[in-house]
Symmetry: C2
Subunit: 256 residues, 2 copies
Amino acid sequence: MSQHRHPGAPGRAGAVPALPDLPEATVARLPEYLRALHNLAESGHETVSSEGLAGAAGVNSAKLRKDLSHLGSYGTRGVGYDLALLIEQIEYVLGLTQRRAVALVGVGNLGHALAGYDGFASRGFRIAALLDADAARVGEEINGLVVHHIDELPRIAAEEALAIGVIATPAAAAQGVADQLVAVGVTSILNFAPCVLSVPEGVDVRKVDLAIELQILSFHEHRKASLTALPATGGSALTALPGGLAVTDTQEAIGT
Amino acid sequence: MSQHRHPGAPGRAGAVPALPDLPEATVARLPEYLRALHNLAESGHETVSSEGLAGAAGVNSAKLRKDLSHLGSYGTRGVGYDLALLIEQIEYVLGLTQRRAVALVGVGNLGHALAGYDGFASRGFRIAALLDADAARVGEEINGLVVHHIDELPRIAAEEALAIGVIATPAAAAQGVADQLVAVGVTSILNFAPCVLSVPEGVDVRKVDLAIELQILSFHEHRKASLTALPATGGSALTALPGGLAVTDTQEAIGT
DNA sequence: CGCGATTTGTGCACGTCTTCACAAGCGCCT
DNA sequence: AGGCGCTTGTGAAGACGTGCACAAATCGCG
């Protein structure tokens, strides 16, 4: 296929260039590729092979090639991918060429950490507002941003085009906050509260739950322990374990 | 199948009861079911139907039944699932009956938040150690725990059976910390640093990256915007957008 | 005791994701 | 110019996950 569909002119928005609809699994990996590409670019590389990039991103090289092929990407056979071009392509597809405004609701323990996290700014995100329902927290300044009351959300949304809402409140308050975010036009929500949000169709919700991740790991620990215990005598003690990893064929190392 | 294999006697460990090896997707959903079950139990319910539990967990009821069937669970047809029994089963399978010790490395912004997060303790986890490489942070007390230097990891691991390591360091330090954790026998790592860890076989790594989640949402925002722009005149302005969600058939609401 | 209402557990078909293996294409060296 | 080695892009097969639809099982009631 030398006939490319010119998937997008990243330079300037305006002409809508018919985004290819990527498999969801591919979309989830693109940010990882992007990070790896930036790292490689800083190390002075100009091009990279699928093998090299796959290694840096922790995936299979065939998977990587198929992922990139979905966005009609430019790579040259026998050489590899041009770093700058590929970065530009991925950033365009992910919509990172426009700096999106993020509203962070809930300035507790986690909210503080998120407000101070540089990973947001380093990609194309800008925290446009810190909000909280607790009047005692309103006015506090975090990382150069002042905390506003959640009731000011409509006013702020009118001034700034909020793209994404981040919920870092207790579970009990999360649904109400989600409703308020949806009401002012936010259609993408990142939810850190341990609860299920119900939102109208067309609104995307992604959930991050630290406790869930730990429980998944706990399951694998449990399974590994039962596997190593089986070939043993049977009723031996389960006191001190470490020393050398014995397990052999269990699970792949990198989880998704 | 009325012949159950007696999948596990949650009361007491010792006899290893041949954990069924569940599909990974099922394992990832079990913690969510567990949380929903606890909520329902607090509301005074004794039993719950697959439909009811599925609603509370935000999944399809058929999926839920299939998931539960994998762990040979007890439900009674015509009635539903017994809450207490199901909770016990899931907690056993996830290995939450034993309180696992977690070592948290990196007490920066995020580490502070994690150290203060109750979600750990509320499930079967206990932060056994706070560690950091920065001598200025050693000795600081967070949430009743004292920060130790990372070099004390071997000593701490000898005293407590560390089950899980949590890495909340900058990306540059993460691989070194992972190596140290592996060296003292940790076989499960939860990585918050934005980088790929390479670990020996048999070690499980799960990654949580806030920036990646935002970028995935950004993609969907970008796609939604391009979809709503297409049927319009073509070159209209992309200034203020909200007012009413127009998108119809786009994506399911709850992401995984 | 039998019947109907209800709900679980599961066979089956479908869609998505992954992985292999290889042809097509590109650059370099002679 | 021609050949050779290397790398991309992709067809095809297999693994995995999902959802429907229904049989089997249980309870409650007349």
